[in-house]
C-alpha cells in the first residue's frame, strides 16, 4: 500500500521515510556484501582438509593457470555409465579441472561429453568413428555388473584446445602390471601433470632448444623419428654436427643417441664444456656392438666393445658404462623358426632374455607410475666417486638377471633353451642414472684439444646441470614399418603388438631436465587408495545395510518417545 502526497499530506512523509530508510538500509547491506565478495575473490585462501592434500595444486600448476592469456577449453570424453573404479577416475578428472578453474578462472573451460549418449546405434558408431579419427583410441572394458560380464567401450581421453590447436591427453595411464584399481589410482595421481603439461605445451611461450648430435653413426632421422616429432611439439629440435659448430651455447639440451664411432677429443671437449656450463644432456649409449645381421647369417656372433671415447667423460661425471650384457628372465620376445609345417617354416615368438622388460622404477618424478619399458642389448652402470654430483638410479632390471661380460656370444638358438634360473641371480642391475649437480670438467687444467689454451679448473660461468644416461642406445630407436618406411611410435613392439612406455620416459626426462617451473615434480603426487574390505562386504552386506537404515530411525524413535514421556510427566505434575 502506498501513500501519495495528495491522499495524506501529513502522514505520508513519515511513512515514506520509514520505508525509504528500511530499503536504503537493505540496499546498503547488499552493497556491502557485494563489496566483501568482490574483495574476497582477490584475496582468498584454501584449506585442503584431505589427508594427502589431493586438491592442492602445485605452485607450478597455479602459476601456469594464473598466467593464461587466452581461453583454454578441455573436452573430456570419459563420462557415462561406468563401473565404480572408472567413475572414480572420471571424478578425479572433474576434481582436477574444477581446481584448475579456481586458478584459471574464466580462461579455463571444460566440458564432459558422453560418447555413448547418442540416441541411435548408427549415430553412436558414427560419433565413435569421428573420435577414433581424431586419434582417441578407445579402451574395451570388461566389467562385472550385477554378476554379469559386460563389455563397454570407453574413451579415456581429454582434448585440450588453445587458440585453434588441439592436443589429446590419455587419461588412463599407470603400470599395466599393477592391479586394475591400483593402476586407476596411478592414473588419478598423474592427472594434474598430464593436463597441466599439455596446457603448457599448447600455450605459446619460450621454446627450449634441443640439439641431437650426429656425426658418430648416431640414429638417423627416421630411426629417432618418433621421438624427434614428439619433442617438436614442445621444443625446437636441431641436428648438430659437433665438428661444424664452435660450441653448443645456443642449445638448452643435447641428445646423444646410440653413437657407433668414437668421439674426437674436440667433439668431447664441446660436449664437456656445454655440460659444465649448465647445458643438459641425454645419453643413450651402448657399450657393446651387436650385429644382428651377422647373427642371422652365421647363427652366432660376438658382441664386442665399442670404442666411443666417452668413457673418461662419464667417469669424470661419476658413472661407468660397463662392457657387458644383461640377461633378464623378465623379457620381450623374438620370432624364431621352431620347425616346419609342411614345407613352410613355423615361426613362433620365443622369450629372448637379451631384451629386458623393465618395470622396476625409482619413485622419481621421471619414472613414477610408469608402465614397463623395453630395452634391447643393455649393459649395467656403475657409479664412481664424483664430488658434487647426485646420482639417482632411475630403473633396474628385475630380480632375475644374469650378467655376461664382453665378449658375449649371441646365438638365436639360445632362445629355444629353457633358461637355468640358477644363473639368473644378479638381480636389480641399474641401467639408467640421473646425474645432477655442478659437473667437474674433464678438461680442467688441461689444454683445449688442438690448442695450447689451458682450461680453468672451475668453469667461470659454471651452473648446475642434469644429465641422464641410459645404457641402451635402442631405447629411443623406433622400429621402422617395413611397408611404409616410417617409424613406429617409440616403444611399439610389433611382435607383442603393444606399446611400451619408452617415449613417456624420455619425454618426462626431457621435461625434468629442461623445465624450470618445476611442473614435472607434480608427477610425484600421491593419492591414497581407500578401498572397502571386499570380503567383509560380501559376508556382511545385509547387516551393514540394516544397521545404517534401521539404527538412525530407532534413535529418532527413542528420542521422540523420551521427549513425549517427559512432557507427559511434566504436564501430569502440573495437573496434579
Amino acid at each position: 500500500m502506498e501513500n501519495t502526497l495528495n491522499d495524506a499530506p501529513l502522514a505520508a512523509p513519515v511513512a515514506a521515510s520509514r520505508k525509504q530508510r528500511d530499503l536504503l538500509y537493505f540496499a546498503a547491506i547488499l552493497g556491502f556484501l557485494l563489496l566483501i565478495n568482490f574483495v574476497a575473490q582477490r584475496f582468498f585462501f584454501r584449506i585442503d582438509m584431505t589427508e594427502e592434500k589431493r586438491y592442492t595444486m602445485s605452485p607450478a600448476t597455479k602459476t601456469l593457470l594464473r598466467d593464461l592469456k587466452q581461453p583454454v577449453t578441455i573436452t573430456v570424453y570419459l563420462t557415462g555409465d561406468f563401473p565404480p573404479a572408472f567413475r572414480r577416475l572420471e571424478q578425479g578428472v572433474r576434481e582436477t579441472l574444477t581446481e584448475f578453474q579456481v586458478y584459471g578462472g574464466a580462461n579455463l573451460n571444460y566440458i564432459f561429453i558422453d560418447p555413448s549418449a547418442a540416441g541411435t546405434e548408427a549415430a553412436r558408431n558414427q560419433f565413435y568413428a569421428s573420435l577414433i579419427k581424431k586419434g582417441l583410441k578407445p579402451t574395451n572394458l570388461g566389467a562385472t555388473e550385477n554378476g554379469k560380464r559386460v563389455e563397454k567401450i570407453i574413451f579415456p581421453w581429454a582434448v585440450v584446445s588453445v587458440g585453434g590447436q588441439d592436443k589429446n591427453v590419455l587419461l588412463l595411464r599407470g603400470n599395466q602390471a599393477a592391479a586394475a584399481d591400483v593402476r586407476l589410482n596411478q592414473s588419478i595421481e598423474g592427472l594434474e601433470y598430464e593436463l597441466a603439461s599439455t596446457i603448457r605445451a599448447l600455450v605459446p611461450g619460450l621454446r627450449k632448444r634441443i640439439g641431437v648430435i650426429e656425426g658418430h653413426g648416431e640414429l638417423s632421422n627416421a630411426q629417432a623419428g618418433d621421438m624427434l616429432s614428439t619433442w617438436q611439439q614442445q621444443y625446437d629440435v636441431y641436428r648438430v654436427t659437433l665438428s661444424k659448430v664452435p660450441d653448443l651455447r645456443a642449445l638448452d639440451a643435447v641428445v646423444v643417441a646410440q653413437p657407433k664411432s668414437p668421439y674426437s677429443e674436440d667433439d668431447k671437449f664441446k660436449l664437456d664444456q656445454f655440460i659444465t656450463q649448465g647445458g643438459k644432456a641425454l645419453f643413450f649409449v651402448d657399450a657393446l656392438r651387436v650385429d644382428l645381421d651377422s647373427v642371422s647369417r652365421n647363427g652366432v656372433a660376438l658382441a664386442t666393445p665399442y670404442n666411443l671415447n666417452l668413457d673418461d667423460l662419464f667417469f669424470k661425471y661419476g658413472l661407468r658404462v660397463n662392457q657387458n650384457l644383461l640377461l633378464d628372465l623378465n623379457c620381450g620376445q623374438i620370432p624364431l623358426v621352431t620347425g616346419m609345417e609342411g614345407n613352410k617354416p613355423k615361426i613362433e615368438p620365443m622369450p629372448w632374455q637379451l631384451y629386458p622388460l623393465i618395470n622396476k622404477f625409482s619413485p622419481h618424478p621421471i619414472t613414477r607410475n610408469l608402465d614397463a619399458v623395453y630395452l634391447k642389448f643393455v649393459g649395467n652402470l656403475d657409479t664412481v666417486k664424483a664430488v658434487g654430483i647426485r646420482k639417482t638410479p632411475l630403473m633396474t632390471t628385475s630380480r632375475y638377471t644374469r650378467v655376461l661380460p664382453a665378449p658375449v656370444p649371441i646365438n638365436f638358438n639360445d632362445a629355444r633353451l629353457e633358461p637355468n634360473p640358477k644363473l639368473y641371480q644378479k638381480g636389480f642391475q641399474p641401467v639408467a642414472y640421473l646425474l645432477e649437480g655442478q659437473f667437474p670438467s674433464l678438461f680442467a687444467n688441461r689444454a683445449r684439444p688442438g690448442t695450447l689454451q689451458f682450461q680453468p679448473e672451475k668453469s667461470p660461468n659454471g651452473k648446475p646441470s642434469k644429465v641422464l644416461v641410459i645404457s641402451d642406445g635402442d631405447f629411443i630407436r623406433s622400429e621402422i614399418d617395413p611397408k611404409t618406411g616410417n617409424p613406429y611410435r617409440l616403444g611399439f613392439d610389433r611382435l607383442a603388438n603393444t606399446e611400451f612406455a619408452n617415449r613417456e620416459l624420455v619425454l618426462n626426462a626431457t621435461d625434468y631436465l629442461l623445465d624450470e617451473t618445476g611442473l614435472i615434480s607434480v608427477r610425484g603426487k600421491q593419492i591414497t587408495l581407500r578401498p572397502l574390505d571386499k570380503v567383509k562386504l560380501a559376508e556382511q552386506r545385509r547387516r551393514w545395510q540394516l544397521l545404517n537404515l534401521g539404527a538412525p530411525l530407532a534413535l529418532l524413535g527413542l528420542f521422540g518417545a523420551v521427549r513425549a514421556w517427559r512432557r507427559k510427566r511434566r504436564y501430569a505434575r502440573f495437573a496434579a
Binding site: 566483501i36 565478495n37 537404515l549
Partner: protein
C-alpha cells in the same frame, strides 16, 4: 533471543510432523547411501562418504523448508505475530532466534548420519582407512548448506501466511539458488558461464563437500544467509509501511 530459540525448537519437536519429516529424511539418505546400487557406498567400493555429501543438498531441499515453513507463516495465520512483535524484542532477535532454532534442528537431523561414518570406517580395508579430516570438512560444508537453506526457508515463511505456500516457495527458492544458476550457465558459454555459475550455491558447495575449505565459499555462504535474513526483516517491517 534464546527464549525464542527454545520455544521454536520445542514447538517443532513436540509436533508429530517433526518425526515424520526427520524419519523420511533418514530413510531417504539411508536408502541412497546404503541400498540403491546406483549410488550406494557398498557398490562404489571406496571408503568415502561422497555419496552422502552429493545427495544431501537434494534431501535438504525438502527437509529444511519443512522445518522452516511454520516459523512466521503460522504466527501470521494465528495472529500471534502481533503479540510477538510488540514484545520488547528487536526484529533481529526474533528472526535470529527462529533462524538458529531451524538451523540447529537441521544439524540434529544430521547426527544419526555419523553412524554412516562409523560403518565406512569399520568396512575400510584396512579398517579405519577413511580420510577423517576430509569427512569433517565435508560435514562442515553440509552444515553451511543447511545454514543457507534455513535462511531462505525463513524468508519464504515471512512472505506468506500459509505454511504450505511457505514450504513450496522455500523449496523452489532453494532449488533456484542452488542449481538454477548452474542450469543457466550450461546454456551460456565460456567466461559468462563461469561467472553465472559462481552466483549459485552448487558451485560453492562442490568444493566444501570434498573437504576443501575456500575462503570465497565461506564469504559467499555467509553473504547469502545475511541477505536472506535481511530480506526477512524487510518483509516483517513492511507491515508498518
Amino acid at each position: 533471543m534464546l527464549t525464542i530459540l527454545q520455544k521454536e525448537f520445542n514447538a517443532f519437536l513436540n509436533s508429530p510432523v517433526a518425526y515424520v519429516v526427520l524419519g523420511v529424511f533418514l530413510i531417504a539418505t539411508g536408502l541412497f547411501v546404503w541400498v540403491f546400487p546406483d549410488s550406494s557406498v557398498l557398490d562404489y567400493g571406496y571408503a568415502d562418504l561422497q555419496t552422502l555429501f552429493n545427495l544431501a543438498p537434494w534431501i535438504f531441499l525438502f527437509l529444511i523448508p519443512a522445518i522452516t515453513m511454520r516459523t512466521f507463516a503460522e504466527e501470521k495465520k494465528a495472529g500471534t505475530i502481533e503479540l510477538l512483535l510488540t514484545r520488547p524484542l528487536t526484529d533481529g532477535q526474533i528472526i535470529g532466534g527462529k533462524y538458529l532454532a531451524c538451523f540447529i534442528l537441521a544439524l540434529l537431523a544430521l547426527i544419526p548420519t555419523l553412524l554412516y561414518y562409523f560403518s565406512v570406517y569399520k568396512l575400510g580395508n584396512p579398517e579405519g582407512n577413511i580420510d577423517s579430516a576430509a569427512t569433517v570438512g565435508s560435514y562442515l560444508g553440509l552444515a553451511l548448506l543447511a545454514a543457507v537453506f534455513a535462511a531462505i526457508g525463513i524468508l519464504a515463511s515471512a512472505l506468506t501466511r500459509d505454511q504450505i505456500i511457505a514450504f513450496l516457495v522455500a523449496v523452489v527458492g532453494c532449488f533456484l539458488v542452488y542449481s538454477g544458476f548452474d542450469s543457466l550457465a550450461s546454456v551460456l558459454e565460456g567466461g559468462p558461464a563461469y561467472y553465472v555459475s559462481q552466483l549459485g550455491i552448487a558451485a560453492h558447495y562442490r568444493d566444501l563437500s570434498k573437504g576443501l575449505i575456500d575462503s570465497r565459499d565461506l564469504v559467499y555462504f555467509f553473504s547469502v544467509v545475511a541477505v536472506a535474513l535481511q530480506a526477512t526483516r524487510l518483509a516483517l517491517r513492511s507491515r508498518n509501511w
